[in-house]
Symmetry: C2
Amino acid sequence: MNQALAFIGLGIMGKPMARNLMNAGYELHVYARHPEKARDLIDAGARLHNSIAGCVRSAVGTLTMLGAPDDVEGVYFGRGGLMDSARPGTFLIDMTTSSPALAERIFSEGAKRGLRALDAPVTGGAKGAAEGTLSFLVGGAAADFERCRPLFAAMGAKADFMGPAGRGQHAKAANQILVAGTLSGICESFAYARRAGLDLNRLFGLVSSGSAASRQLDALGPKIISGDDSPTFFVKYLVKDLRIAAEEARNAGLSLDVLEAALRNCLDVTARGMGDLGTQALIHHYEK
Amino acid sequence: MNQALAFIGLGIMGKPMARNLMNAGYELHVYARHPEKARDLIDAGARLHNSIAGCVRSAVGTLTMLGAPDDVEGVYFGRGGLMDSARPGTFLIDMTTSSPALAERIFSEGAKRGLRALDAPVTGGAKGAAEGTLSFLVGGAAADFERCRPLFAAMGAKADFMGPAGRGQHAKAANQILVAGTLSGICESFAYARRAGLDLNRLFGLVSSGSAASRQLDALGPKIISGDDSPTFFVKYLVKDLRIAAEEARNAGLSLDVLEAALRNCLDVTARGMGDLGTQALIHHYEK
């Protein structure tokens, strides 16, 4: 693989991922609607383009890290987007947490143009992006996954092939369904405990080492106790992810009522102006 | 504290707890409606009584480990029960997962008779009972808790004082609310993943080390993948615990819809004849 890559989506996740690719020696071409957001990357040697076509012209692969499925649809299928611009034989790697159906469409429409698409959403958050310890859940063609391993290795600690196009997104959805249940249990438990007059620190000390132990409880329990709503992962992003999972589940004929409740409750918190808080702010749904 | 104790409730949890008290040197008096269930304890030196009154006559403290709040109510408030029989000045320690309101009533009615009641439900399950590694969540009078520490130490690894009567039960309810959310997330995630055609082993390898990691996922994930419904904790017992938590939450004016969904789904599984399976059988609710 040649060293020139295109990268689109320099947000809180994308920018440190792009930087890790540069640190690994790749020549980075970026497209940004707001160039000031890419300033430090440009200062470090990334080349800024004012069109997607310009950005991908010399690249052997394009990586995207966008907000929501609508953004992905725009960048891939919009006028002047990747389907119009990317060179045949190159890779398209969408790392956005997006819809499995859209990933399948990118794969099949890309294939008609000789493009090799992978859906490769991540877990590990902004911290994992900065530290290069993300995990990639990858769907697409196995041979393409193998050839892109060096890219994943530059940005993360782990990459697993989950099957045909869309399966990376399905695996991420499965992860977020787990997160939704555990997070809801944490917030309902603390709301209950507070109402019952329990000493939350003492309760946390007990439950966090027993059968109810979880990574999220360790991370969010102390924040809930101290009233710290600062984000590790934004409520609004969880809402986006759970919407995708819930829609896929419904389409598959599954009735996942805990997922649906978690989505409804996170939407309530968002509607009350708390979308930019951390996911532990879900507790405010129960305390109104 | 003198060495004679009464113990009522020699089930899957109670019997090994009673044995650990005997191993610690206490003289054990047991009351069992089905004496054959106590045979090995009697062979080991426990004294069998055919009435509660006889069982508690020489005891400085009575420990109960029963099935459900109705059983607790019968043993404490029924004719010839503990309120009629226990000697003033002695302890009553209910380790059943039961209702906080009933624990408060036992405390206040007991106090009128000079009895010192503690509610002390446990976490750690049958394994913790056998190995003496249970955690006790204790409500009542702080001085009584302190005086009973040696008993808890004989049966468990940890005992924490949670506040006035009922708070031990409230803390246990808070723990089970956590369990309900996490377990639901696990079962919904695996049901989704299976429907999406994902390799569950590969998915488990990824999610169990990330933000969705939990003790329950570690314990139940492999069982779900291999179709092993064998119990670590019975669905029917979780139903009982979640009923108590849901009722308390409703009485407190809280709307815990994930807890309510988990209870409803576990009841569905129980109604379909799976109450004696492990809690991972909740996945069958989603796969019908």
